[in-house]
Amino acid sequence: MLKPKQMRRVLFVGHKDHLEPTIEVLHDLHVVHIEEYTGEEYFSIGKPLAGVDQDSRMLLKLRSIANFLGIKKSYLEPTSAEKISSELGKKLDELESAVLEKLKRKSEIEANIKDAETNIHEIRVFSGIPLNFDLCRGYETLHVFTGTIKKGAEIEAGLNPITTDYQLYVGTTGTIVLFVPAKYTDEVAELLNDALFNEVNIPAMSGVPDELLGELKTRLDMFVKDLESLSSEINSMKAQYEEFILASEELLSIDTQKKEAPLFFATSEHAFIINGWIPDDEFETLESRVKEATGDRVHIALHEETVDEVAADETDVPIEYDNPKIVKPFEAVMNLYGRPKYHEIDPTTFVFIAFPLFYGMILGDIGYALILLGISLYGISKLHGEGWNSLFTVLIYCNIVTLFFGILYGEFLGFSLAGHVSEGHHVAGLIPGWETIELMHGLGDEMITYPVHRTHIITTLLVLTLLIGVIHINIGLTAGFRNVLVKHGMKAAILEKISWIVLQLGVFLLLLGMMGVVTSMLPGAVVFVLAVIMLVVGEGGTAIMEIPSIMSNVLSYSRLLAVGLSSIGIATAINTMSGMMFDSGGLFIVVAAIIFIFGHALNTALSVIAPGLHALRLQYVEFFTKFYEGGGRIYDPFGYNRIYTEE
């Protein structure tokens, strides 16, 4: 539980004839982490098994079809692998031709739409001109000017002195079509230049612009409709083939994975060697299965010594967590930081306890706990996938603890459930008749009560959180002691980790001395100096600079109180605002409801982020730095997690 799974190094040696059944068994068992062979001395890298080309071609085809149909990963009922593989070839061809046809139609329609759009764009300039385009070109004695001119330019006045033999049409967009005898071309061109003439070419079509436009628009509408019906066809195809595509993709992936596996193996002319890691407890099953499949023709060698003694290889060992099922979701929290190394303590169990505890202590509100429990229970039933699953499970754990603390604090959405006395006035609680009971005196003038009113006993709670910090940090130091002990021996462990505990003792004794509990400061000072000497010997002179860090680490746990108080602050502000609106009556009641709902929705979102991040940070920064390195290799066994198919 506190250590990663014990791994053994395993070697398979056999004749190439037995390669395929061996791969089959290894893939099936899904427990061997295969080490890639990279050397090039006597052995060479193996060649993929026959048929891999065809498989990967089919896979490529299938993936491009899935891409075209827009098929995404979803969670369907698994289908029988046998059924899929028997009809794979035929169905894939059928699907391919159907998809190709659709693809062709789609690109045709899209090209048509584009054409129509460009034509409309070209013709629109000429709208309002009652001329067939054919009449605007092909003259020998006439010159035709078509184009735009400056707004409001009076060209007729300028034309008359040149010639009266002209014909001018002006369209609704201000485009002109001007016919003049060819001999006046230069003069007219000059005149038009002054009016900022900008030539527009006549489209290569025949017909009157307005009629053409109408026609093109109806055609465009038709194409758009075609495209819509095509995409609904594609959608129905998607629905029809989704299951098949996902399942066969998985099947082909598995096949190619198996066939390409020899690329990781070392092979000679006739033999193969597979080198890998296996969890200790899986070895016997593996051995018997391989022997059974190959008729005991493949030799399996196990490194005799356990990995504990092969310290040099430590960094190479792939890491698999070994946690009870209830702790498993927190492995996601660990992965965010990094897997443990092989000889390190796996702190998942510590995180499993401390993370929800801190989260609950910070939030501690029945209302938010119930809302978030509802959300996570809904989420876990709707969203699948390992990531979502762990996230929601962690959230459920956290909010169960929050619920407990909520009952302890007697808080519901920032309201106090029990009546209590605040600044000399009695404040009624949300539950009539429930009154706060005084239990005992806390620090200062504070009175510890049930339910605990966090805003009233700040000093006591502050000291309590710091105490929690001291405990948490010392658990970390103890774990660190064990890690260093295994790696570097007793002397280093005492100097590096125990010294910090001694240091805390020194500070504690000094504090007692200052408060007058102990008459002399001397014992504290002696212990403190002793700890500093141990640290300097153990970690070098720079350790002196690190000494204040333990203090700021402990003080950092005050966030267990502070973040909670800020959450109460926000909730109280929302409640006060909506309460004031509510008291005004009339329409303001609606406003009050809106403020209440939106405010608490916002605070619910904050209630995930703020306590979550701060509880996480206390693990990562304050706790892990005392013992944890992380950065272990991921155990990635050869095999496949089937989702869509079953054997």
Binding site: L613, L616, R617
Partner: protein
């Protein structure tokens, strides 16, 4: 004489009120300035962390930790502010 006493009484009230106000200002400064300090530090670390973890996704956890380290400053400020007010 009586008037002077009354004036003195008013002065004391004024002084007390002032003290309360000064405490509130102090508390505000404690939270506000430490918040600014945290923010300035976090913006630099945060942008560097995002850069790092787009290159190498495994660094997300470490980046997150680095980013929230300066948050301690504002927590301290907040605690000090509360202790000043109560």
């Amino acid at each position: 004489m009586a008037i002077e006493l009354a004036l003195a009484g008013a002065d004391i009230d004024l002084i007390l009120a002032n003290q309360k106000g000064l405490i509130a200002i102090g508390a505000g400064l404690a939270v506000g300035l430490t918040g600014l300090g945290s923010a300035i530090a976090e913006k630099d670390i945060g942008s560097a962390a995002v850069g790092a973890f787009t290159e190498k996704e495994e660094l997300f956890g470490k980046g997150l930790i680095m980013t929230v380290i300066p948050e301690t400053i504002v927590i301290f400020g907040f605690v000090i502010a509360i202790m000043m007010i109560i």
